[in-house]
Amino acid sequence: MPLLELTDLHKTFRHGANAVPAVRGVTLSVERGETLGLVGESGCGKTTLGRMVVGLQEPTSGSIRFDGQSVEGGFAEAGRRRRVQMVFQHPAQSLNPRMRVEQMLAEPLRLLADLAPDRINGKIDEVLRLVGLGPEYARRRSRQLSGGQQQRVAIARALICDPDLVVLDEPTSSLDQSVRGRIVALLRDIQRERDVAFVFISHDLSTVQRIAHRVAVMYLGRVVELADTETVFRSARHPYTKALLSAVPKMDPRLKRERIILPGETPNPSELPIGCSFQDRCPLVHDRCRREAPHLLPTAGAHLVECFAVATEVSHA
């Protein structure tokens, strides 16, 4: 049984008469101890999806099951707030500037864990060591920390109550390249030690490649391709995934590549066309894509792709 199961999840934001469908029917699962990478460009709904997973945002429709039980009515009611945690996008903004590191780490313990007060300090030391910070950091405030150290504290705060699932929203995007690599290595070590599952949200494909077991590619609120990491990076099938991967600059100055440049821009989500949402930028578009919307279909094994052209190719083969 998967740790987390999302079924046909929708989220529509309404501003007066204007409706913005941010997430449009996402079905996903995350296993215990697994890292699921969630990639896509700005505005594709990956953050909204992450916020629904931790219960910061109420889905418009669809269901979230955690550890086999529905979390309808919120995580707090279901008594599992402690087991699902989040690391936010900007570490500097998600830490309280007036609190010392030890206060920030003690707060979730007091609120969520049933821990004797005399054990709190021991737990703080333990989690600081886990994220690679010495006990001397407990007395610091966030402005006395570098960006990488702030992110370590944010990770420590998410882990201190021993959660089963942590949603990491762009945890490395605001960090320098050299610090990024260390945070990724740290997260992998923590996962090995604690058997915690991660939902790793990022637009940085190379970081996702280094940490995720499986990758879901999102475009305009839908998952268009889902497979294990190697399959996505080696043999992506969806035309959007292919274009996205080809757009990532590579570190090889002698390389001359054929790049797939997508025409135009991501359409406005409140004025989506009928049919496939990728139709206006897709090199494989045909009549059917303008009439009906495709669904995620398996091509080989657990490799799912949401595209008529790919499905036709597979059925002919």
Binding site: S42, S146, S206, D252
Partner: protein, 230 residues
């Protein structure tokens, strides 16, 4: 110059067409009508379809990629000889970044202007640049053609930077900020190879044709090499 964050570099209270034509009025002494026509042409030039509609828009009505195109149009309006792109695509998604790179490449081929790309993204450098300089703490660490520097990094900092992207980084290099108070090599306090000589400022030492690096280790190597041939 193309600035880092296109949306905050543009004037939020002016229509973008006016912002571009103003440059032409002030610098080229064009009349307003003339300048506006030229601005429209520039917008078309940077790959904006419907230049007339976009020119009437305010920056907040445009996407990040569009604002960046507007910035580029403005920077190119006076036909500069050198274009400075400061993290021009850092705030953009990769597919838009690919479009902007293509655009800059085409413009360079067409106008023959020089481009200085300022970025922390080494992969972008690898794709865009003929030669590169690596800076740390206000000092140039290494200079050379992109191929030379990336394939044969000679400064410890360049090596560390490259490792951080594809491999695990050297654990001996501490995660510390730049210390500008440091005399001598600014990378000295983080460098695993640092020794007494690094308290002085190292000269640029040639390591190949047009490829130099600022590190005493290289001097020793080259003097050893000289000693051996003697």
């Amino acid at each position: 110059m193309i600035f880092q964050q296109p949306r905050s570099a543009l004037n939020p209270t002016m229509r973008v067409g006016n912002q571009i034509s103003r440059v032409l009025v002030l610098n080229q002494g064009l009349g307003r009508g003339e300048a506006m026509e030229e601005a429209m042409a520039m917008l078309g030039h940077v790959g904006i379809s419907g230049a007339r509609r976009v020119a009437r828009a305010y920056p907040h009505q445009l996407s990040g990629g569009m604002c960046q195109r507007v910035m580029i149009a403005m920077a190119l309006a006076c036909r500069p000889r050198v274009l400075i792109a400061d993290e021009a695509t850092t705030a953009l998604d990769v597919t838009v970044q690919a479009q902007i790179f293509d655009l800059i490449r085409d413009l360079v081929a067409e106008t023959r202007c020089g481009v200085v790309v300022i970025t922390h993204d080494l992969a972008a450098v690898s794709e865009m640049c003929d030669s590169m300089a690596v800076l740390y703490g206000g000092q140039v660490m290494e200079v050379g053609t992109t191929v030379d520097v990336l394939e044969n990094p000679s400064h410890p900092y360049t090596g560390f930077l490259l490792d951080s992207i594809e491999r695990e980084v050297d654990p001996r290099v501490e995660e510390r900020g730049v210390n500008f108070a440091l005399a001598g090599c600014r990378f000295g306090h983080r460098c695993p190879h640092a020794y007494e000589a690094c308290a002085a400022f190292p000269p640029m030492i040639p390591v190949g044709r047009g490829h130099t690096a600022s590190c005493f280790l290289l001097q020793d190597e080259s003097s050893h090499a000289v000693a051996r041939t003697d």
